[in-house]
């Protein structure tokens, strides 16, 4: 049972990392990065490292998202894209 939980955490890490790179909208990308950080924190807790899990949950999912959203507010949200790009 715990193995299934571990596998699902790892699969969620891969999926949220892929979505972080894939999204064109920068706000969606930042939210995916927060989800990735949260599940990496769960993985740290599974690996018996609660010190690092607290640090990752506080910094990666809390402060880092706040800083990214402040920067997006200053720079405009949509990704700039020229004609003919992918």
């Amino acid at each position: 049972m715990i193995e299934v939980l571990h596998l699902s955490i790892l699969v969620t890490i891969v999926v949220s990392g892929f979505l972080t790179i894939w999204f064109r909208n920068l706000l969606s990308s930042v939210i995916s990065l927060a989800v990735l950080s949260l599940f990496i924190s769960l993985e740290f807790f599974y690996m018996q490292a609660p010190d690092v899990a607290i640090a990752e949950a506080g910094i990666g999912a809390g402060l880092s998202t706040a800083i990214y959203i402040i920067a997006l507010r200053a720079c405009g949200r949509k990704q700039f894209r020229k004609e003919g790009e992918r």
Binding site: E3, H6, L7, L10, I13, V14, G17, F18, T20, I21, L26, S29, V30, L33, L36, S37, I40, E43, F44, M47, Q48, A49, P50, D51, V52, A55, E56, I59, G60, L63, S64, I67, Y68, I70, A71, L72, A74, C75, G76, Q79, F80, K82, E85
Partner: protein, 116 residues
């Protein structure tokens, strides 16, 4: 059952962040890709120190008198790396905001005006 699957996850995450750093044209997106690479590196260091059946390296919560603990040194190094990662991310985003104020764009192909 899981086998070496955590190492595979670390490799996939690292390569995805690498692709993001190389192919993206937006400065904030490049910073996000650097954050993904940092997360992959932290996960790799913690995975190297995991010992199956080990307990938390804190004697208050060890329980049962088990002296078989997870290796504590990688956790200490990762703890330092996370805070430094936040500091570098803040510095990258500050430079991106300053560049946007001066050039009016975040695209790296528009910022090449200095090269002449």
């Amino acid at each position: 059952m899981t086998g070496n699957f955590p190492y595979l996850v670390v490799g996939i995450l690292f390569v995805m962040g690498f692709i993001g750093i190389i192919f993206e044209k937006n400065l904030v997106k490049i910073a996000i890709a650097v954050s993904v690479v940092e997360a992959a590196t932290n996960l790799f260091i913690i995975t190297l120190g995991y010992r199956s059946g080990g307990s938390i390296p804190v004697w208050t919560m060890a329980g049962g008198g088990s002296s078989r603990m997870v290796l504590p040194t990688p956790q200490a190094l990762t703890l330092t790396a996370i805070v430094i990662g936040l500091a570098t991310t803040a510095l990258m985003l500050s430079f991106a905001m300053t560049i946007y104020r001066h050039y009016g764009s975040l695209d790296v192909r528009d910022v090449r005006r200095l090269q002449g």
